[in-house]
């Protein structure tokens, strides 16, 4: 037996503890979300019914099963608030991801063209803001964008506007916040593929007479598509369910699905509807999640 195979056996045992943990705290909880999404709100503790009580005997459990219904999902599909929230989440996520790609690509491209020594420095500089707190970064933008904040002060001093512009509680502010928070997630996978690219390919294309634009669109961009895919998924999936950024920076007249879920749960105390919203959100993200999982696995396991 090869050393590699002998090594593999104890390595497999290492999976037991994290496996049990993830089944218990990641997989099983989804079962509870699904079950409660089929329950009704009740003024009780916990605030839903039926409650499964395994000690209550077989007939009680059968009755509890019979009491489950898809009413909450009917409500989600028929109430404009939820339908709009879904559509808005999708629009915001698509728009923000497109903006991120547009802004992140030139930065990643610039990084990949730096001399090798400087590439490492640039990568650290892009990662560091990701380590600083998410909430703090949004708060930093509230400071800048508020009525008498720095941005309005500068615009007024330069006589670009005659009155302070309303930035906070607008979609513009929300998009600034999203792009700011997710930019490292877009840049890093793009940079990883662009840095691995053979420079000789671009040189060959331009030696053969292709103008710089053609070199980019016919050689560089198609070769960077794996990075584009990773960056897009890494941004799109969490943005669809984003709560903090729209809550603090966008106006309150149109909500994203993450916000309605939060509202149903914390303000209306309607756990079943919140759970149904979570299931619906999950269904919407299932396909992108599967793509992402495959990409991640390929990247980590085929080195």
């Amino acid at each position: 037996m090869s050393a590699r195979r002998i090594f593999a056996r104890p390595a497999r045992f290492a999976a037991i503890a994290p496996y049990v943990w993830m089944v218990l705290f990641f997989l099983v909880p989804f079962g509870f979300v699904l079950k409660i999404s089929l329950s009704q709100t009740a003024i009780a503790q916990p605030p839903y019914e039926p409650v499964f009580d395994l000690t209550a005997g077989w007939t009680a459990i059968r009755a509890a099963f019979a009491a489950l219904s898809i009413d909450n999902f009917r409500l989600l599909a028929s109430d404009d608030i939820y339908v709009f929230a879904y559509l808005r989440s999708l629009t915001v996520a698509v728009t923000a991801t497109a903006l991120l790609l547009l802004i992140g690509y030139p930065i990643a491209y610039g990084m990949a063209r730096l001399p090798k020594r400087w590439q490492a420095v640039a990568m650290v500089l892009v990662i560091v803001p990701f380590w600083t707190s998410f909430l703090i970064r949004i708060y930093a933008w509230i400071n800048i964008l508020q009525h008498d904040g720095l941005l309005n002060q500068i615009l007024l001093a330069l006589h670009l506007v005659s009155q302070p512009v309303v930035w906070l509680s607008t979609d513009t502010a929300m998009y600034i916040g999203i792009v700011y928070s997710y930019l490292p997630f877009m840049i890093l996978p793009l940079y990883a593929t662009l840095a691995k690219m053979e420079p000789a390919l671009e040189e060959a294309a331009s030696d053969l007479g292709a103008p710089p634009g053609a070199v980019f669109w016919l050689v560089t961009f198609p070769l960077s598509l794996p990075g584009v895919g990773a960056g897009v998924l890494l941004c799109f999936i969490p943005i669809v369910g984003e709560f903090v950024i729209p809550d603090l920076l966008a106006g309150s007249n149109s909500l994203m699905i993450g916000q309605t879920l939060w509202l149903e749960f914390f303000t209306n105390k309607d756990w079943p509807v919140a759970s149904a919203a979570a299931i619906a959100l999950l269904v919407m993200l299932l396909l992108p999640l599967l793509f992402y999982e495959r990409l991640q696995r390929r990247q980590l396991e085929e080195q």
Binding site: R12, F26, P106, G110, P238, G241, A278, L300
Partner: protein, 270 residues
């Protein structure tokens, strides 16, 4: 010379603008935390007034203490579990349930936090667990161990496997070969994983809001409820302290990884 000539003016401009965009807002926040004026936007000279205010604010101090304890505890458990998971995935070859295992580890990296938070809360309610320090710690461990696993796994993947195989050919048992050859080589990644888990936990608002109980708010929960009421100079001071703490953590992490990577290079030819 060729590498330098590849940089166009457009490349340099987009890099400079990009980095300015990433850093200026944080810089402005830090500068304004030393502002003497109560009005956040009017500069009234340098002052430490808001730091004094923070240290006099009992609720904020308690929340900070809670956050630090959760971050240390969850990062430590997450590093242990995440490293085990990474070893199983990169050295375990094929085993039953492997696809499910890697799926469960990669999904939380992008899963919207409202879903993770809600599902864990419903589990804790069903188990009738008292919500507070431990429920938040378990929730954060579940999220951050996946980040640790990815960081350590990518280090294990780039490692030369002939090193541990040589140790075993020379008579080491697998566990011994792992502990004395592999573990020192992946130590920088484990340290980086712990630091990442620590900062992610310190940062989290959504999952903690769902899984904590009354009377045990974490720092982000406190900051969030203050921010909703408007900008306060005291918040600038707290944010600056958090940024300083994270900066120290990053510096320690990079020094640690420098030290052990130079060790790693000298160990490699053995």
């Amino acid at each position: 010379m060729r590498t330098i000539s590849r940089l166009s003016r457009f490349n340099i401009a987009s890099l400079a603008l990009g980095l300015a965009f990433l850093y200026l807002p944080i810089l402005i926040l830090v500068i304004y935390s030393f502002n003497a004026s109560r009005l956040v936007t009017v500069w009234g000279g340098w002052s430490l007034r808001w730091y004094h205010e923070f240290f006099a604010d009992r609720a904020m101090i308690e929340a900070s203490w809670m956050s630090l304890r959760v971050a240390v505890a969850s990062a430590t458990i997450a590093t242990l579990l995440g490293t085990l998971a990474a070893v199983a995935l990169s050295r375990g070859e094929r085993f039953r349930g492997r696809t499910l295992f890697s799926g469960m580890l990669y999904a939380p990296l992008v899963m919207p936090e409202v879903i993770t938070g809600l599902s864990l809360l419903l589990l804790f309610v069903a188990l009738n667990a008292e919500r507070g320090f431990w429920t938040v710690t378990i929730a954060h461990t579940t999220l951050t161990m996946c980040f640790v696993a990815v960081v350590v796994q990518s280090r294990l993947g780039s490692l030369d496997r002939s090193l541990e195989e040589a140790a075993m050919d020379l008579g080491c048992a697998p566990v011994r070969a792992f502990l004395s050859v592999t573990l020192p080589l992946i130590a920088p990644a484990i340290v980086a994983g712990w630091m990442l888990a620590f900062t992610l936990s310190l940062d989290d608002l959504v999952i903690a809001s769902f899984t904590t109980g009354p009377g045990s708010a974490t720092l982000p929960i406190r900051i969030y409820s203050e921010v909703r009421l408007g900008v306060k100079p005291e918040i600038n001071a707290i944010c600056t302290l958090v940024i300083a703490l994270i900066a120290v953590v990053i510096i320690i992490a990079s020094v640690a990884s420098k030290l052990s990577s130079s060790q790693g290079e000298s160990a490699a030819p053995l």
